[in-house]
């Protein structure tokens, strides 16, 4: 039934009773709490780094001072921690230490000695809150160990747990900034025009001698270390879009200009011209010359870390064979003038999603996943088997079917490699495969599964065989490089 404006004018307005108004206000408050990010981004926090664990805790403002729950700070550091409230008194027992605090008082007793707090102790629902700046005094007495506390950045180091780093710039073209850390790190990486930011939310990374590092290079002129709100950040400034890659079990991060911005590698004789620009890669960095896009390959050594892949034999794990193949393939591709990034260049864990995100961010011309198998002779080449569903919504591409538009290019790449393998009389088969992350990639993507040349699986490790296979893969890609990269 339709109502005209006239009809609407005769509809009596509902009367809001006080009860309804209260309910409405509560509902609105709940809705706002759900919609607004609840201060998650701006929430104050302190991060504690210790040999046992690294953790962050919320910091609350009371009486113009920052407070933190003392029990929460200490609890992860030992087993025997408990607190007891006795009226206005709050008693803390930690290993062999006792401390007593009184609500509203600025003096506490720790191990029988008086300690002055920079503000009054607060007791809220049985939770003892101490001023943040008092941790520098309280914790060494309670824990009996040295601590380093930076109240400004709210980072607290218990014992000698800091992770140090060095940064060195390699001027050999393309320039690379190699950062070596004293312990494995896993920062969150974000890129923005002229800068690559690495946020260390859980790692006790500390500043080098000076927070600003300058390099005598036009592409990567400087890097700045900063720390704030329980996290450290290294911002690398660049005149070209930068990308980071991990190696050495997460102890080394190499930052280099994204390949599309690199100067064209000198192509050996007989190398076809560069591929045309890719119109679909909307947020890809601009190519060095208009209309020209350089070939860039991402090689992915499948499995790694805890994921050993197939147990090819008692001693041979798939993850080791794939890594060896990946390194050889990089060499072969680069020797043919094709820039290459090995996604996993050490024995680290990488999820399928991480592999896809790293690859999509790098906007390669081709992605090659390497697998190894004990069954079947020769090489099998796979392209994505796109799962059902996954409708795209406007500019947003469905994650599980992102490969759809690049499937023709992937098939061209597979055909090129298959032809070259066949030419070398290596048994080859081309199939679809439901293997991630192929279906998540916005580039031509193939998976190469290398089986042994004969009946002995250990022959998979033969350098000559590996070299022959990867050389065929590189030649096959070279043959079709001008047909890759343009989604159809």
């Amino acid at each position: 039934m339709r109502l005209s404006a006239l009809d609407c004018a005769h509809i009596p307005k509902p009367r809001l009773t006080p009860k309804m108004r209260i309910r409405g206000t509560m509902l609105l408050a709940l809705l706002l709490a759900a919609i607004l990010p609840a201060g998650s981004a701006n929430e104050k926090k302190i991060t504690v780094y210790s040999a046992i664990s690294n953790y962050s805790l919320p910091v609350t403002d009371r009486n113009s001072l920052e407070y933190v729950g003392l029990l929460e700070v200490i609890e992860p550091l030992a087993r025997n921690v408990n607190s007891r409230t006795d009226g206005l008194r709050w008693k803390l027992h930690f290993n062999d230490a006792d401390a007593e605090f009184t609500a509203g008082k600025g003096r506490a007793k720790v191990r029988g000695r008086d300690v002055d707090l920079p503000g009054n102790f607060l007791l809220e629902s049985g939770r003892g809150l101490v001023p943040l700046t008092s941790l520098g005094t309280l914790l060494p007495r309670l824990l009996g160990t040295s601590i380093t506390f930076n109240p400004g950045s709210r980072r607290l180091f218990v014992g000698n747990v800091a992770t140090h780093f060095t940064a060195q710039l390699s001027h050999t073209p393309p320039p690379r900034l190699v950062m070596n850390f004293s312990a494995p790190v896993n920062p969150t990486i974000a890129t923005e025009p002229g800068r690559l930011r690495m946020s260390f939310n859980r790692e006790p990374v500390v500043a080098p001698g000076t927070p600003t590092l300058t390099f005598d290079d036009a592409a990567i002129p400087s890097a700045v270390f900063s720390e704030n709100n329980g996290a450290a950040e290294i911002a690398v400034n660049g005149t070209a879009p930068l990308m980071a890659s991990f190696s050495n079990d997460g102890r080394t991060i190499t930052i280099a200009p994204a390949p599309q911005q690199m100067s064209a590698p000198s192509a050996p004789a007989g190398v076809p011209g560069t591929a045309p620009a890719t119109p679909s890669a909307s947020n890809a960095p601009a190519a060095a010359a208009p209309g020209v896009r350089h070939f860039f390959a991402v090689v992915d050594a499948s499995h790694g870390g805890d994921d050993r892949g197939a147990a090819l034999s008692d001693k041979l794990a798939e993850k080791d064979v794939t890594l060896a193949l990946a390194r050889r393939l990089r060499q072969e591709l680069e020797s043919r003038g094709m820039s290459t990034l090995v996604l996993r260049d050490s024995d680290v864990n990488l999820s399928f999603d991480q592999r896809a995100v790293f690859t999509n961010t790098a906007h390669p011309t081709i992605y090659i996943a390497l697998h190894a198998a004990s069954d079947g002779k020769g090489v099998r080449l796979y392209t994505a088997m796109i799962p059902a569903g996954g409708e795209n919504n406007g500019p947003f591409v469905a994650w599980d079917t992102a490969q759809t538009h690049f499937l023709p290019a992937s098939q061209i790449a597979a055909q090129g490699v298959a032809s070259e393998l066949g030419r070398r009389q290596i048994q080859v088969r081309t199939l679809l495969a439901p293997v991630r992350p192929l279906n998540n990639l916005i580039a031509a993507a193939i998976a190469v599964e290398v089986g042994p040349p004969g009946t002995d699986v250990m022959d998979l490790n033969l350098p000559a065989y590996q070299q022959n296979v990867v050389s065929a893969v590189a030649n096959g890609l070279l043959a079709v490089r001008d047909r890759l990269g343009v989604p159809q």
Partner: protein, 200 residues
């Protein structure tokens, strides 16, 4: 003084307790002598299906050339759609668990259930022995997936999407390669199956 009848009753009860304890001990000893490996090698209990047989098409994986072959079979099938689906896959598994299996699966591998959810969705629930003991490799795993799904689709009409669970839960991959995190489009599986039916 304690009555005599009470003493006799207590004595008899004590004797009975001792005798039962001895018997239980012997039974436990016998049970422990049965090797768990032997117990695990028992194939899944044959489903109690009887009656007239039907002609079905099974898509059987063969590791040696790495192919999928369709082969006919005459098996008794229940009338209910869901039980038919389960029976089909159990027949397929019996081939894989047989002595001269063309595509050996782990001992104890089983299809726990098949759920046919309208419209057009089938869910295959495998047991953990199936997935945990499956050989790892892209081809080996996709042969298994294609064999299960294609057999189901070839004999049960109107299945458009298939999801594979392990012990009722989602799993990322079958054995490190074949993706189980998403639904399989039966059209795409049919294309894969046709590729797998060619050795080269």
């Amino acid at each position: 003084m304690i009555p005599r009848q009470f003493l006799i009753s207590t004595g008899v009860l004590l004797l009975a307790v001792l005798a039962l304890g001895f018997y239980a001990g012997r039974m436990r000893g016998r049970a422990s002598q049965i090797s768990p490996a032997v117990a695990n090698t028992q194939p899944p209990v044959a489903p109690p299906v009887s009656g007239p047989t039907e002609r079905v098409t099974l898509y059987v994986a063969f590791d040696d050339p790495g192919v999928l072959r369709s082969q006919g079979a005459e098996i008794p099938l229940p009338s209910a759609r869901q039980q038919r689906a389960e029976e089909l896959l159990r027949t397929l598994l019996a081939i894989y668990l047989s002595k001269n299996s063309p595509h050996p699966l782990a001992l104890g591998a089983e299809v726990r259930a098949v759920y046919l959810v309208t419209p057009g969705v089938a869910i295959i629930d495998l047991n953990s022995a199936f997935a945990n003991g499956h050989r790892s490799g892209v081809l080996e795993e996709e042969l298994t997936v294609a064999s299960l799904i294609q057999t189901l689709v070839a004999n049960i009409p109107d299945i458009l999407r298939v999801k594979i669970l392990v012990d009722g839960k989602e799993r990322e991959t079958l054995a490190g390669h074949a993706d189980l995190s998403d639904f399989y489009d039966t059209g795409a599986v049919a294309l894969l199956a046709s590729q797998l039916q060619n050795a080269q």
